[in-house]
């Protein structure tokens, strides 16, 4: 059969039938099944949900993944350890610096590689700046999903551009920084860069205040988010949900405190916790975390020691860790980002696995959305904060 004959239309993406169809349910009666995505303005990329609707209420919701499955793990198993570093930028393309760090952390654990003190501080600075980028963009996208069109996103991107400019001045690229190396960082920031970063961080709370004045008290937002998409703590833990979504349900689990990787143990910051686990709490969690990040950054700038940024024993080429395996994880802006590596002593990893927080945080999407309207499902998805590069890898 030639599939190019016009009489044989191709099936729609593993869902037989059209994108909207009527289904019959014994319990609910006549329902409508709607395929949302993979091209949909509010699914944050190429995510697809097959939603079954009773009127406007969701009866069933099945996420469909894989539209951005770029075979990151397979490619990484065929390249060197260093060669995978730029690919990790493209995993979570909003926060390349933290993803870099997570990968470097796992490889350093695998190879027993030490990291100098200055590099540790620089990593914390980059990770927290990334958190600011991610959370402010997320809030912008969340309000976009709530129906504000574009405005909060414009404000968020105005701030993002400032931080991205810093990343560009340091690493050479706006989004794909490729900054961390096994045993340190690639470029040492100049005093001018540090002064500019310090100034940005000093000004950031002002932006946050403005942002909050614009958004937090908004009655429409309160009505649309409070009590919507509740997630209780026991279920969240069992479903492996991490990051701000878990903490919004009131579970005190932040890897910066629990694992105290890097030099986080020396920093003074609080872990904000939610009480209700609804969309509003998840929104507030992001705002509060940004304020804590500003605190961490201020301390880091104050205490940044002088010294080398690369461990002298670190190797760039011909890097061959001893046989073994390691699971390194850190608190990414979206949740626990882990890399699991198995080495067989060759220059390429035998097994390279990314533990994507975005994918696993979606485990309870259906439970959170059921009973709400389809418009709320979009908001709940927005409050979980996914990036499809990481969901599908």
């Amino acid at each position: 059969m030639n599939p190019f004959t016009p009489s044989a239309p191709a099936p729609f993406a593993s869902a037989p039938g059209p994108t909207v169809r009527a289904v019959h349910d014994e319990f609910h009666g006549d329902l409508l099944e709607v395929s949302m995505g993979p091209q949909h303005p509010s699914t944050h990329g190429v995510f697809r949900m097959v939603a079954t609707l009773d009127g406007e209420q969701l009866v069933k919701l099945k996420p469909v993944f894989g539209y951005l499955h770029r075979n990151h793990e397979k490619i990484a198993e065929n390249t060197t350890y260093l060669g995978s570093m730029p690919y990790t930028d493209r995993l979570d393309y909003l926060c390349s610096m933290s993803t870099n760090w997570a990968y470097a952390l796992a490889v350093e654990k695998l190879a027993g590689q030490a990291v100098p003190e200055r590099a540790q501080y620089l990593r914390i600075i980059m990770a927290e700046l990334t958190r600011l980028v991610n959370h402010s963009c997320l809030v912008g996208f969340l309000f976009n999903d709530l129906g504000t069109s574009f405005t909060p996103l414009l404000y968020a991107f105005r701030e993002r551009e400032k931080i991205i400019d810093l990343f560009e001045a340091l690493s050479g690229s706006r989004m794909m920084c490729n900054y961390q190396r096994f045993g340190g960082c690639r470029v040492d920031p100049t005093p001018e860069w540090l002064a500019a970063a310090q100034q940005l961080v000093d000004n950031f709370p002002r932006f946050l205040d403005e942002y909050e004045r614009m958004l937090t008290g908004n009655e429409i937002m309160l009505a649309r988010t409070q009590g919507v998409g509740r997630l209780d703590a026991t279920h969240a833990i069992n479903a492996g949900i991490t990051g701000p979504v878990l903490r919004a349900s009131g579970v005190d689990y932040d890897l910066r405190k629990v694992d105290a990787y890097g030099f986080y143990a020396q920093f003074d910051f609080r872990v904000p916790l939610g009480a209700h686990g609804d969309t509003y709490d998840r929104y507030m969690m992001r705002i509060l975390e940004m304020r804590e990040s500003v605190k961490i950054l201020q301390q880091a700038f104050k205490r940044l020691p002088a010294g080398p940024i690369m461990d002298p024993k670190a190797k760039l080429r011909g890097f061959r860790p001893k046989a073994g395996e390691a699971y390194g994880r850190l608190e990414g802006p979206k949740g626990e980002l882990g890399f699991f590596l198995i080495s067989d002593g060759s220059p390429n990893p035998y097994r390279y696995r990314v533990r994507p927080p975005s994918l696993i945080n979606l485990t309870l999407l259906e439970e959170m959305c059921l009973g709400h309207t389809i418009a709320d499902a979009v908001v709940i998805l927005g409050s979980i904060d996914i990036v499809l590069g990481e969901v599908d890898r």
Partner: protein
């Protein structure tokens, strides 16, 4: 009061709207084709090859076709074929040169790993980004003629880094010359001490 949150939000947007006419902090638009962003020194887009000399670019390529970047390039977008013969490089030493050097910019991910692994400082990152084309095959595959750019261009786009690289290369060359001088002196001394020995082997 119900609605005060909405009004507060509107006040913020109104302030920003008014501010976008007079407050430089809120005037963020870069009017691109007329007004260019000043790219930072470290900015990278695609690699290029450094030649010592602008007049004879193919004769003075720094690249010695060692193929390290070809092997290390994560998306495998570099192709190098070694030359059959050798040409003298900047120091006069005979070296191989790339007969074919190609970079497929339609694949390149601008990761800079080729620059980091190059032991000869022969490949560096360019800043040109306005390269949209209508033909993918001819225009996006860069061969060595199109990749080669003189060292003066490198100084223009990355002044600090280029000065550092040049200083290092100069120091290396001086050290090599010193070493050669010392070796030659030692050889001469040895020849003087033992006049009847086999002639010194030809230095390459």
């Amino acid at each position: 009061m119900l609605g005060s949150g909405i009004i507060n939000g509107l006040i913020v947007t109104a302030k920003n709207f008014a501010g976008s006419y007079h407050d430089p902090e809120r005037m963020v638009t870069v009017e691109y084709p007329e007004q260019k962003t000043v790219l930072p020194e470290n900015y990278r887009n695609f690699p290029f090859l450094i030649t010592e000399n602008a007049t004879d670019p193919m004769g003075t390529l720094r690249c010695v076709a060692c193929q390290i970047c070809e092997k290390e390039c994560p998306p495998q977008c570099i192709i190098i074929e070694k030359s059959k013969d050798k040409k003298p490089d900047a120091t006069g030493k005979l070296q191989l040169y790339p007969a074919i050097f190609g970079i497929d910019t339609s694949v390149c991910m601008s990761c800079q790993i080729c620059v980091e692994v190059c032991p000869f400082d022969a490949i560096k990152m360019d800043k040109v980004f306005e390269i949209a084309t209508t033909d993918r095959f001819q225009d996006l595959f860069l061969d060595r003629e199109r990749l080669a750019k003189p060292n003066s261009y490198y100084h223009e786009i990355h002044p600090v880094e280029a000065a550092e690289v040049d200083g290092r290369l100069l120091a290396e060359r001086k050290a090599a010359e010193e070493k050669a001088k010392v070796a030659a002196a030692a050889k001469a001394a040895a020849a003087a001490a033992k006049p009847v020995v086999t002639p010194p082997p030809a230095t390459p």
